[in-house]
């Protein structure tokens, strides 16, 4: 399961390293679209767009569904939740540390004031 999660994160960060693919995600955030729509919007060949969409699909960021002759793309359910959650929990850890550090800084400041002069050695 750990391996699986790692592979998934590798895939999603790789998918996000491309500006077109980030653009596609933004676009799909506003509305579902067919690959043809996306290719037009991003001034790209159908084949080029298909490749981008398949990278996003493998990363679980996008799902596609074929209805008749048209393949419709929409945002994947998972989205970027895991990446965002990791960054947020990492932030919380540092935030908690830094709140404690605030207290240390306050105390050292008071001490310096009491000393009446700045100690520079």
């Amino acid at each position: 399961m750990v391996q699986y999660e790692k592979a998934r994160l590798d895939a999603s960060f790789a998918a996000l390293s491309d500006a077109t693919r980030r653009g596609v995600l933004e676009q799909l955030g506003r509305a579902d679209a067919s690959i043809t729509d996306l290719a037009e919007k991003f001034h790209m060949t159908l084949t080029g767009m298909k490749k981008h969409v398949s990278v996003l699909e493998q990363a679980g960021l996008v799902t596609t569904e074929k209805v008749g002759r048209v393949r419709t793309c929409k945002l994947g359910l998972r989205g970027l939740d895991e990446e965002a959650a990791w960054i947020e929990s990492y932030r919380q850890l540092w935030d908690a540390r830094f709140d404690d550090l605030d207290e240390v800084v306050e105390e050292l400041k008071r001490k310096e004031k009491l000393d009446g002069r700045n100690k520079r050695e």
Partner: protein, 172 residues
């Protein structure tokens, strides 16, 4: 006549931000209400580090903290709930510029990051910027995946923190 609005006690808490700046780089920033020499001191004296590196909210503490904040000097922090099974965080300092810059390596694994902390003082406050540079994109991804990489102990702490936070939220 100027109103002395600034002398009113402002809320103490400043914002901590974290950004993935590139494939190999994470950046954490925070402002502290004190001069750089004081904030720097808190990062380099074991007695002071002990008071904040293991946040109280995690319920953990630094069991030991050795710091030799000189170029090529080593550091070693040991954390834990259980003194019999401490988690170690260790490496060495590769740059030490008093009151302005600290660079250290993290040597628990090959995926360890190099961390640079800079202290920029302005109007008696200090902007702290912490860069973590990983040896490869994969190393940072692994850190994010959380099970190995540069900071396993951090994640264990994090788990505790989340449990602690969940517990306080869940209480009715």
């Amino acid at each position: 006549m100027d109103a002395t609005r600034e002398s009113e006690p402002a809320p103490m808490k400043n914002r901590t931000t974290v950004e993935r700046k590139s494939e190999r780089e994470l950046v954490v920033t925070r402002t502290f209400d004190g001069p750089a020499r004081i904030v720097f001191e808190a990062w380099t004296k074991p007695g002071l580090l002990k008071r904040w590196w293991a946040p109280k909210s995690t319920g953990m503490s630094l069991l030991s903290c050795e710091v030799d904040a000189r170029v090529e000097g080593r550091y070693r922090f040991e954390f834990g709930h259980d003194a019999a099974k401490p988690m170690a965080f260790f490496g060495r300092y590769i740059e030490v510029i008093p009151h302005s810059r600290l660079v250290w390596t993290n040597e628990e694994s090959d995926d360890g990051s190099v961390t640079t902390v800079t202290f920029e003082e302005k109007d008696g406050k200090t902007l702290l910027i912490m860069y973590e540079l990983y040896p490869s994109k994969e190393a940072l991804d692994r850190a994010i995946a959380g099970m190995e990489g540069g900071m396993p102990e951090t994640f264990e702490q994090l788990d505790e923190l989340l449990v602690a936070m969940g517990a306080s939220v869940g209480r009715s």
